[in-house]
């Protein structure tokens, strides 16, 4: 066999006590789609940062086409034909797609004052390029006018415009709708067929199955397996990732009450001239999970604000949200929370916790049951937190550590435990498993189901369709602020929900 395009040998990297990468050995071959999979914290990102020159390995070496590659910076890596699309795009919303590509052209500092940009020439060149790879883009539009899918296309074309032949894509499909994902994967195949090598970092097994030629599984900083992908079952891959037999089972669902807990009627909201919510009607029933499907930004955020902080959000809502005797739209957040409403917000570090404080202190937030007058019931809090950390397997099991020092999955477990254990009547949950590893996902899902079984009404907003299908009793699909359909569990259908999310009737 000829020399591999890229070869990692004995790469190790430690941050303090944590071994992010330990003796990583594997090869990547030219013209393949190489899936790099693993749970959060398995070391995928660290490894790619080392490859791309953002981090430096403690030991070991990477060889590119047989020669030692020791990229000290991304600029050097780019010169060698590597290109990376980060998970968070690095784009300037107010500037045009065209200017983003021109920016990438290497240039000396001194001449920059006097060099007139040749936009016409670039536009021509880029239009040819988009045509060649069948990825059209409106080059003169500013980035904020481009959909997320097109922004991603821009990031990739930026790499292609400067002849990158190894593309590193970090969780590229996290931001796309199901339809976009299929088209995107198709495009990856054609990029591969045109001779590019693609490193696909992902934790979605469906993508691996769809496009990967080769799979490398990382687990706890080590290579758990590297093999040509030939139809292995998704479960065997998942087991490799998690390190134990893995089979997500259907949850048994207890039938408890299903009385109407919350009745949302004709809820509308207009902000800056855009109709964010358009005559939305639905009910949340106790003992059921109501899933809200939709591409991010189609009214879900406003819907949650209407339920939790209608007054504080600065938005103007019309309609009503009947909850028992009350209309939530007329209540302040602190009064809504007194009505036993729990919230697991989308952005935990911004909205759920104070990252610099300890887990113990954060566990108090919003939990009035831990206060007796002005005094904190420490023992009660400590005991409950200890039990929760045990139950959810939070690691490290030290409640005095600052919240920020826990990994994403463990942080979320603590937030979920806090909100579930307050014994709410209504629990509003947004993206509970974003940026969370498979083990934690299982624990969080089980906890939400248990909450449901205990008779709590749950509203679950998620952009992960699989999560919604697994947990929900009913799903409403939102698009452009409207509810496109309400589906019962026996009517769940990925294709149909996908179409509805895209705005089709």
């Amino acid at each position: 066999m000829d020399t591999p395009l890229l070869e990692f040998s004995n790469i190790s990297k430690a941050y303090g006590q944590v071994h992010a990468n330990q003796n990583i050995n594997f090869q990547i071959h030219k013209g393949q789609i190489h899936a790099l999979i693993g749970e959060n914290g398995a070391g995928k990102s660290t490894l790619m940062k080392i490859l791309f020159g953002l981090e430096h390995a403690d030991s070991g070496e990477i060889r590119l086409r047989g020669e030692r590659l020791d990229a000290k910076s991304p600029i050097e890596a780019k010169k060698k034909g590597l290109g990376m699309v980060q998970q968070h795009f690095q784009l300037a919303p107010a500037l045009t797609a065209l200017d983003h590509v021109i920016l990438e052209q290497p240039h000396s500092f001194l001449g920059s004052f006097f060099e007139k940009l040749n936009r016409d020439e670039w536009r021509q060149k880029l239009e040819n390029l988009s045509e060649q790879f069948a990825m059209p883009l409106p080059w003169d539009q500013t980035v904020d006018q481009l959909s997320v899918g097109l922004q991603q296309r821009l990031e990739i074309l930026k790499l292609l415009a400067f002849d990158a032949d190894i593309l590193i894509l970090d969780e590229p499909t996290a931001v796309l709708t199901p339809q976009e994902v299929d088209a995107f994967l198709e495009r990856l195949r054609s990029l591969r067929d045109s001779g590019k090598t693609i490193i696909l970092i992902t934790h979605k097994l469906r993508e691996v199955i769809a496009v990967a030629d080769w799979v490398t599984v990382l687990r706890q900083g080590k290579v758990a397996g590297t093999f040509a992908y030939e139809g292995q079952s998704p479960h065997s891959l998942a087991s490799l990732m998690v390190g134990k037999a893995f089979s997500p089972q259907e949850f048994e669902r207890k039938h408890s009450s299903n009385e109407i807990l919350v009745r949302v009627q004709n809820l509308s909201c207009t902000s800056h001239g855009v109709r964010k919510l358009d005559r939305v009607n639905f009910e949340i029933r106790s003992g059921q999970i109501l899933g809200v499907a939709g591409v991010h930004g189609n009214g879900q955020t406003e819907l949650i604000k209407a339920l939790i902080m209608p007054k504080e959000s600065g938005l103007h809502f019309e309609g009503s949200i009947k909850y028992g005797e009350d209309d939530l739209l007329h209540l302040a957040n602190k009064d809504i929370r007194k009505l036993e409403v729990g919230l697991i917000p989308e952005d935990r570090l911004q909205q759920a916790v104070i990252p610099a404080l300890s887990a113990k202190e954060n566990y108090l937030l919003g939990r009035h049951d831990f206060f007796k007058g002005r005094w904190i019931r420490r023992h009660r809090r400590d005991k409950e937190l200890e039990e929760s950390m045990e139950e959810f397997d939070v690691r490290p099991r030290n409640a005095d550590l600052p919240f920020a020092s826990f990994s994403g999955g463990n942080q979320q477990k603590i937030v979920v435990a806090r909100e579930v254990n307050r014994e709410p009547n209504l629990l509003v949950v947004a993206e509970p498993t974003r940026g969370v590893d498979i083990g934690a996902i299982e624990a969080i899902h089980a906890s939400l189901i248990a909450t449901r079984d205990a008779g709590v009404g749950v509203l679950l907003v998620s952009s992960e369709l699989e999560e919604l299908l697994r947990l929900s009793d009913r799903i409403i699909v939102m698009s452009k602020g409207q509810i496109k359909a309400t589906l019962l569990r026996e009517e769940f259908d990925v294709e149909r929900i996908g179409c509805l999310m895209g705005g089709e009737a």
Partner: protein, 283 residues
């Protein structure tokens, strides 16, 4: 009458235009700029002093621009190198300018805050005005059509994108700040050796902040900012005229007018404009 009013509008707009363009370089590259007032003040003093010593207004122009630039580079050192808070650093430098200028005039000219008056033939006339108008065009072209302009825009909108394209954000911002200082210094110079005949204590009278207001009012773009400067200057010119003619209104009330218009413009427009995304952000 109308003609005179328009002419004095143009003359009065000159210091504002310089300072607002200066602010534009800073804020479009992502550095908050409330330090224009201080830069104008030291620029005005330097220009008047240099003109007094050499007898040539052009050395005054050079001195005003250079001292403004040095002042801005001190700010750059604080906020870009040490990464100090931008608002606090600029406030400190403004206060320092207020304190340092009288100190300097006391030592050098043994006067309480003012420089000796400059004879008419050593002062500049409309040269400043034409320079300011030309700079509006040049800035507009630089931003839109040159590579450095593109870098400034990326530094202000998405510094991390600029960084990952291999361009030093710190260097781009430092150069932009140097331009800021030079321009604000010129604005100060136009006050002390053209509009007036000497440096007088606190002669900028809030023009640095009005320039910032014009910049925001003009949505951080050169031509609209220029228009905003003209508006503010027009109100100023009208105010001066009213002081003479409309005796039934107390002078103090009339003098408030430019500031009142500034506030109204800001309250009405700030928040509706697209602020540079990377303003005040480090890489």
């Amino acid at each position: 009458m109308i003609e005179e009013l328009l002419l004095s509008t143009l003359r009065l707009s000159t210091p504002l235009v310089f300072a607002a363009l200066g602010g534009l370089f800073s804020e479009r590259s992502g550095v908050i700029q409330i330090g224009l007032e201080g830069m104008m003040l030291v620029g005005a003093l330097a220009a008047a002093s240099a003109t007094t010593f050499t007898g040539s207004p052009w050395t005054g122009v050079l001195a005003g621009a250079s001292v403004g630039m040095i002042w801005a580079l001190i700010y750059a050192f604080f906020v870009l190198k040490i990464k100090a808070d931008q608002i606090i650093s600029a406030t400190a430098l403004n206060l320092l300018a207020f304190g340092l200028c009288p100190f300097f005039t006391k030592i050098v000219f043994d006067s309480t805050g003012a420089t000796p008056s400059i004879p008419f033939e050593q002062r500049l006339g409309s040269e400043f005005m034409w320079m300011a108008f030309a700079l509006v065009i040049i800035t507009s072209l630089l931003l839109r059509y040159t590579r450095f302009g593109l870098w400034i825009q990326f530094a202000g909108e998405s510094p991390s994108a600029l960084q990952s394209a291999g361009v030093s954000v710190g260097l781009v911002r430092s150069i932009s700040l140097a331009c800021t200082g030079a321009l604000a210094g010129l604005g100060g110079a136009s006050l002390s050796i053209s509009l007036a005949s000497s440096y007088a204590p606190n002669m900028t009278a809030g023009r640095g902040f009005m320039a910032l207001a014009a910049l925001i009012f003009g949505a951080w773009r050169p031509l609209p900012t220029f228009a905003a400067c003209l508006l503010f200057a027009f109100v100023d010119a009208a105010q001066i005229r009213l002081q003479g003619s409309a005796t039934f209104i107390p002078v103090q009330v009339v003098q408030i007018l430019p500031y009142l218009v500034t506030i109204v413009a800001l309250v009405g427009f700030f928040g509706h404009q697209r602020v540079p995304k990377g303003l005040g952000k480090h890489v």
